[in-house]
Each structure stands twice: as C-alpha cells, then as structure tokens.
Symmetry: C2
Subunit: 212 residues, 2 copies
C-alpha cells in the first residue's frame, strides 16, 4: 500500500523529519570526500553526497554546496585556490568519512581529527586521501548560483585520476565493487553493494542482454 504525500503534507513536516525524508526518499547517491587546502595551509576534508556527472569529454563533474552547510570551508578553499580532490570511500572508512561532517574550527584539519592521511600528487595544491581506492584531482571551471534556494553548483574538470589498475576493465569500466566502494542514502546511512549485472548497449529491436 503506497502512502501519498502532497506538497502541503511535506511542507507541514517537522523540520528535521522533513530533512531526513527529502534527503533519503530519492534513494542512493554518490559518496565522496572532498579534499582542499586553505590559503593558510590547513588541509580540509568534507563528506559529500551530491557529486554528479556533467560530461566525459572534457571530463566534468558537478558538486552541490548548500547555503547553510558545514562544507563552507570547502567552498571557500575551492574559490580561493581553484583546486580540490574527490576521493571515493570504501568499506571500513565510513565512520571516518561521516565524522568529517562535524563542525570543526577552521584551523583544525579533518584529516587529523578523523584519522585519515593526506597525500599529495606531485605539485597539485589540494590533498587527496591516502586510504581512498580512487581519487581525482579537480580544477574549478565554473560556479553556478541557484537563485531558487541559494545553493551553489561547482563544476570542475578532472586533472588527474588514480585507482588500482586491476579495477579497470578492458572496455574502460571501473568497477567500484572491486575496491569495496560504498554508497550513501540520506544524511547518515551507508551501504555496501553487490553487482547484479551489466547490460549491453540498448537498441529498440533487441531484448535487454547481460554483458557478463
């Protein structure tokens, strides 16, 4: 039996209930840690669940920053320095990843506070996470202000990418399950996954066919 919620019913929800409800109802999201370094040299790390694909060539990814969120240090550092890293989270890292969402003072590095290790790729300005199975160096390309609710969408290009060579298939597919990468729903729920299957490129005159 499906329960129906109208706009009015959603608006009438208690604020924290609604935050859980609206953040979780759309299902799983990408989980990543965003690494930045302030102009003063403090390494910052923050968990995000809003990464999305914008394009493959050039390789572009988007990230949403809410106006009232603790991730403002991250956004300030990206604006100031132009660079950040994205780091996937694997099983066993979820407690540390979640803990980066605590409101630490700006002179405290979340790396130290939660027990993850910054690692630098050559002269790239922003720190990556040594424990992450897949990390990317990103360059800020555009910040889009969403007037509807004051959020910012940051679009960046991939400067470099590091992952285990064994995780990359012959066709370029990088299987996150190979490195036990986890996913997230809502603000605080972490999930492990299992591959059900890959499907061949869909055509109108063919039935769906598994690739594997």
């Amino acid at each position: 039996m499906m329960k129906h919620f109208s706009t009015e019913a959603i608006a009438a929800m208690e604020q924290r209930f609604r935050a859980q409800f609206i953040n979780s109802a759309p299902g799983y999201k990408n989980l990543c840690l965003v690494g930045t370094r302030s102009a003063a040299g403090v390494n910052n790390l923050a968990v995000f669940n809003s990464l999305f694909h914008v394009g493959a060539n050039p390789p572009l990814l988007g990230l949403v920053f809410r106006p009232d969120s603790v991730d403002r240090h991250t956004l300030m550092n990206i604006r100031e320095t132009g660079f950040y890293t994205l780091n996937l989270v694997s099983e066993g890292m979820e407690a540390a990843a979640h803990q980066t969402s605590a409101r630490y003072p700006s002179d405290v590095s979340e790396f130290d506070a939660v027990g993850l290790s910054p690692v630098f790729s050559g002269a790239f300005h922003a720190p990556a996470v040594a424990e992450s199975p897949l990390r990317m160096g990103m360059k800020l390309e555009e910040e889009i202000h969403v007037a509807l609710n004051g959020t910012s969408i940051v679009i960046g290009s991939i400067c470099w990418l590091e992952c285990a060579e064994q995780a990359i298939g012959e066709d370029g597919f990088v299987d996150p399950a190979h490195s036990k990468v986890i996913t997230v729903c809502g603000l605080d729920a972490y999930y492990k996954t299992e591959l059900k299957g890959r499907y061949a490129y869909a055509k109108p005159d063919k039935k769906p066919a598994l690739l594997l």
Copy 2:
C-alpha cells in the same frame, strides 16, 4: 598499486573507453526512471543516473541532460508541459529500466516497449511507473544551461511523493533497501545494496556512533 592518469592520458583514450572510464570512475549514482507525457499525448520513459539533491525546504532535485543524449524527448516534454515524474528502480526492474535507453521513435511509448505500466496520480500530467517502489511528481522550476559543454541542468520541486508507509522510519528516513531499490555505476552496471549502518549526527567532541 595505484595507476595515475593525467589530463593528457584521459584525453588520449579511445572515445568509448573514455566514456566508460569517466562515467564509472566516480562510483555509484542515483538510478531513476523519468516519466513524461508529450503535448501529443505519448507517454515517455527514460533512465537517468544524474539525479541530485538541491534542497529539502522547498524540496528541490536536479537532473542533468546531455546535449547528445537519447533523453531529448524527456527534456522536450518537460519544457513543453512543465511536469515529470521520478521513479526509483528495484531489483528485477533493471533490464526494463536499461532498455528505456534505446532510441525509440517519438511516437513509441517506452512504457509499452519495455513492459512497465504508466500510472497517473490524480490530474497530474506526467505518468509514473506503477512497478516503482517510490515515485515523485515534479514541477519544472528552472533550467540552467552549462556553457562549458552544452548540458542542461533541470531543477524541479516535488509536488507529491508516494512510497510504502513501512519504508519510512520514525525520524523520516526512507530506507531504499526496504524496497530492494538498486543503484548504478557508469552507463550499464546495476548493483543491489545492503545497509552497513546509520551514524548519529557528527560532533567535533564525540566519536562516530552507529544509530542502529
């Protein structure tokens, strides 16, 4: 051993290899079916992996449309009519969901072609998916053009939401695992999930603690 890919190495990849690589490397994404109805009355359904959270109050979600993608019928219908639905995908629906990505002619309904059932919520213009465990009626609020690569970001507000009452926790959390909702990586890989745990609201002076 981590393999390092530079901007140049990524740019030099064969086109389809790069599409797989860049689409899959960032890990899991949201998986949903977008339902629309053309001005001519044809019901359209298309699979998306770019849904992201924009805000809880008002409840806003974003969706990316690539310039060269088959989902242009979807975008045309949203522009023309102002309404669409978002429908989560559960285990067993993945073959049908994937098949909606085939390039059917504009007078063919993907609902019929892939064997899913349109369902209408009252007088709401766009069809939802009867088989989906969680569906939302959306109203177009803003379309943002991304000049970097010609993509469009469509931001919509939630008009209504339907899901099983048993999937909603006391705090408002809707557990997608309750309804066997699946997730996606890249263009064609579908994953089932298992809840590892939920964490309490993080504070600087407290250690990470499981909610359950």
